[in-house]
């Protein structure tokens, strides 16, 4: 974009000259003046009664009906707004929040008894009207709530206030886990916009929004009218840095108390706290294409990958070899489904066997990876590629960015690339296998490259069951996928890292990535 009028570098014309550098300074000075002083001194001071948290990204919005988005939910959920019920990550049990009791009155009808004496941050009282309004706004309003797609998936629900403290919810089909689904619906007052999303919501949570300096930081302050036990920190100051090593350094240098979403290489050192983060990595095979349509080849893939070695070397020991895509604590988890053992000789013989029967094992399989899906994602794929080549398969890697990768994750899949294995990761935030099985393993699941009628039947059985029968049915479905269908090569249950300053006590759990409760943080000592 250089101007043709300018002389080439190093050939300044001699002769009469005006002050060249004065012109440069004038231009720069004008830019500085024109741009104002919006950046300088835009930070917020924080005292010892404020917990300072550094996030990987700024929340795009604090809209409660988008709280299933990680970047939104980790700030909003149970800090600013609250649901009727809440799942305890450790046990998987539901505990009362704004509802104190709930009961399935009929297969399609649930009744909730609501907590009394709760007020919103704006002083209005919480009642069944507000609860019904929040459910309706999330599910039926047409404002594209992320929670609606994530939890309800198009299910029709109607909520009505029977009286101030009684809420009736009816569903189009029997739904044994409706209270669990409603744990994602954050309650807002009836004055909240029904036709559009709100960026700064009013809720009933222990903290309310004080100030959001967009691009810089967000401050929440303790809500003195909170119905429950008052949290210990008077305020929380969130900031965000995209670079993990900077987040870790902020804790090391005393600029932040908690740093979220770190990788082993970020250098959190003694401040690092590891926790199982609910994510499971796996490779999804397209079993509709040769040679992956042959069960022996899919078994060979599983035998060829040394999952223990992968976790130890590539994931720096942070993780656990896995045989199913849901971790313990999720309804349906099957403790008997173990990671496939590493047996390269068996893998080689299965490939040979398939080859002898005319299976085209020399057809190139494309390993589709996603940059940054988890730390060392590219290196993990290279290890897999090497293993599969050794087993006798022909494999190449294609690394993509998130949106290009999504084209291969979701139906309809591109059909011009041949057999593929997709690098994927699944996190079941809700704690029930219903949020995993149909979409990932159902014949028509949005993320499913292959399924069977037998597996569909098992999944459907689980979805309709409740209590222990539900656990048994989903566990059976997961075992069937692992032993009979073998659609995936499941790699590992992952471990997350946060950095914690010595002045803060906090125990992260499997839900901490998606909702980080400020009330669970305490000043040390």
């Amino acid at each position: 974009m250089q101007s043709p009028l300018r002389p080439p570098k190093g050939t300044g014309p001699p002769g009469r000259k005006a002050p060249v550098f004065a012109t440069v300074f004038a231009v720069v000075g004008a830019i500085l003046l024109a741009s104002g002083c919006t950046v300088a001194n835009s930070g917020a001071a924080a005292g010892a009664d404020t917990v300072r948290i550094v996030l990987p990204e700024e929340p795009p919005t604090l809209e409660p009906c988008d709280a299933s988005l990680t970047a939104t939910g980790r700030v909003t959920r149970s800090n600013i707004t609250e649901p009727l019920t809440e799942r305890v990550p450790k046990t998987g049990e539901l505990e009362p929040k704004l509802a104190t009791e709930w009961d399935q009155k009929a297969p399609k009808t649930w009744e909730f008894t609501l907590r009394e004496g709760v007020t919103f941050h704006d002083g209005t009282a919480f009642d069944a009207e507000a609860a019904a309004y929040s459910i309706d706004r999330t599910v039926n309003s047409g404002i594209e709530c992320n929670v609606n797609g994530y939890v309800f998936g198009g299910t029709k629900i109607s909520a009505t206030a029977v009286n101030d403290t009684t809420l009736k919810v009816t569903t189009a089909e029997p739904d044994p886990i409706l209270p669990l689904r409603l744990s994602f619906v954050e309650v807002v007052p009836t004055t909240t916009d029904a036709k559009g999303k709100v960026r700064e919501p009013v809720g009933t949570g222990p903290y309310r929004i004080d100030k959001w300096n967009q691009g810089i930081n967000l401050r929440l302050e303790r809500f003195d009218g909170y119905w429950g036990k008052a949290p210990e920190y008077k305020a929380a100051l969130y900031s965000w840095r995209a670079e993990g090593s900077i987040r870790a350094a902020m804790v090391s240098s005393g600029e932040a108390d908690v740093a979220v979403g770190l990788a082993p290489a970020d250098g959190a050192g003694d401040h690092a706290v590891e926790f199982p983060n609910n994510e499971t990595t796996y490779l999804r095979m397209d079993a509709t294409q040769k040679p992956l349509d042959d069960l022996r080849v899919r078994e060979a893939v599983n035998y060829a990958i040394d999952k223990k070695g992968l976790v130890a070397s590539v994931f720096a020991g942070l993780g656990e070899p896995a045989g199913q895509v849901v971790p313990t604590g999720v309804t349906g988890y099957n403790p008997d489904v173990k990671a496939w053992p590493y047996d390269m000789e068996r893998a080689k013989s299965l490939v040979e066997e398939a080859k002898a029967d005319g299976v085209p094992v020399d057809k190139t399989i494309t390993l589709i990876g996603r940059n940054g899906i988890y730390p060392k994602a590219a290196e993990a794929l290279e290890v897999v590629q090497n293993s599969l080549l050794e087993a006798g398969l022909k494999v190449k890697i294609k690394m993509l960015d998130v949106n290009a990768w999504m084209e291969y994750l979701l139906r309809p899949f591109p059909d011009d690339i041949g057999p593929t294995m997709l690098q994927a990761q699944h996190g079941n935030q809700a704690g029930d296998a219903a949020f995993t099985m149909d979409q990932i393993y159902g014949t028509k699941g949005a993320q499913s490259s292959y399924g069977t009628a037998a597996l569909d039947k098992l999944i459907q059985r689980g979805e309709l069951a409740s209590g222990p029968e539900r656990q048994t049915a989903f566990a059976e479905a997961l075992a069937h996928q692992s032993d009979k269908v073998v659609r995936d090569a499941v790699l590992a249950h992952m471990t997350g890292i946060i950095a914690l300053a010595p002045n803060v006590e906090y125990t992260p759990n499997s839900a901490s990535n998606d909702e980080m409760h400020l009330a669970e943080m305490h000043p040390a000592g």
């Binding site: 009028l5 741009s35 001194n41 594209e144 797609g149 949106n403």
Partner: protein, 308 residues
């Protein structure tokens, strides 16, 4: 001058149109934003509704027509990610980048003039060799590495500076230093080269023979003539900083336009991306015109060439 300005603006309009077209159509070739903005378990009906609501179900030409019509009304659309007007996000981020780039270039130019002139005054002297070595090193130092090392040493180990952020003057030091290092290195070399040529020119000998002081010879005669190439390079470097302070903005959490553009690309936030690119392109064109005007004002030959 008006003729020159008109000609320059007309010639800038064509690349501007190419930029608008390129960003609009290329961005839309990179996948369906519904995949990013809706949960994986969203139904096909939800995806269709999302596309319809944001106009992605129309043909690309129809979408482009709508975009141009909105642009004519100074409506830059709404961010898919934040549901805020795209212009708000861009106008919030742009001053932050301008401040950073402007301050950095001011320091780079002043520093380069001093160091480059000193080095050129006695070519091959120890001062010249040290300046050449340091400027070459600075010009070839990766900014990402420099930034991380700066944080580790000055923020974590020595605790002299904050790691990142925008609060207070101390927070400017590492981002400015990181951004400064390359332009400073390049400009020192340019100023030195130009000054070496200027100081050996016949008119300098004439100036010395008239009894002019060394100070006057350097700053009044030589530096004036050596300034033009430095201005050319400084202009290009400034454009580069405005366009791409991405590394610094990402590492130091500086809420600028470079980071905003990268995030918009990754998140397929078309309206923000288009607004950011348009504003940046307009600024760069304006900056180029200002620099050209500067040249035309400074140099009669350039001015006459432009009029011809």
């Amino acid at each position: 001058m008006l003729t020159f300005l008109r000609r320059r603006i007309v010639s800038s309009a064509i690349p501007l149109l190419v930029v608008i077209l390129g960003v609009f159509f290329l961005a839309r070739l990179t996948g369906d934003p519904a995949n990013l903005y809706l949960p994986l378990s969203a139904t096909p009906e939800m995806r269709e509704s999302f596309s319809a609501q944001h106009g992605f179900d129309q043909s690309l030409t129809a979408q482009f027509g709508d975009y141009l019509a909105e642009l004519a009304r100074f409506d830059f659309g709404e961010s898919l990610r934040t549901a805020q007007p795209a212009s708000e996000a861009v106008l919030r981020a742009f001053p932050a980048t301008l401040q950073l780039a402007g301050f950095t270039m001011l320091l780079a130019v002043i520093g380069a003039v001093v160091v480059g002139s000193l080095a050129a005054y006695r070519p091959n002297s120890p001062a010249d060799r040290i300046a050449s070595f340091l400027s070459s090193t600075a010009a070839s130092t990766p900014d990402f590495w420099f930034a991380i090392m700066g944080v580790l040493i000055f923020a974590v180990q020595l605790d002299w500076l904050p790691t990142s952020g925008t609060a207070g003057a101390a927070a400017w030091v590492l981002p400015v230093a990181t951004l400064l290092i390359r332009p400073f290195g390049v400009l020192v070399q340019v100023v030195r080269g130009a000054m070496v040529s200027a100081l050996s020119a016949p008119y300098i000998k004439v100036a010395r023979s008239t009894g002019a002081s060394e100070q006057r010879v350097i700053f009044k005669h030589a530096l004036r003539n050596a300034g033009a190439p430095a201005l050319t390079v400084a202009g290009d470097l400034t454009v580069g900083l405005i366009n791409g302070a991405v590394v610094v903005e990402t590492i130091f959490g500086w809420p600028g336009i470079g980071k905003l553009m990268i995030d918009s690309i990754l998140q397929r936030d078309f309206a923000v991306l288009q607004a950011a690119v348009l504003l940046t392109a307009l600024t760069i064109f304006a900056l180029n015109i200002l620099i050209d005007i500067g040249y035309a004002l400074l140099d009669a030959r350039v001015r006459q060439g432009a009029m011809a």
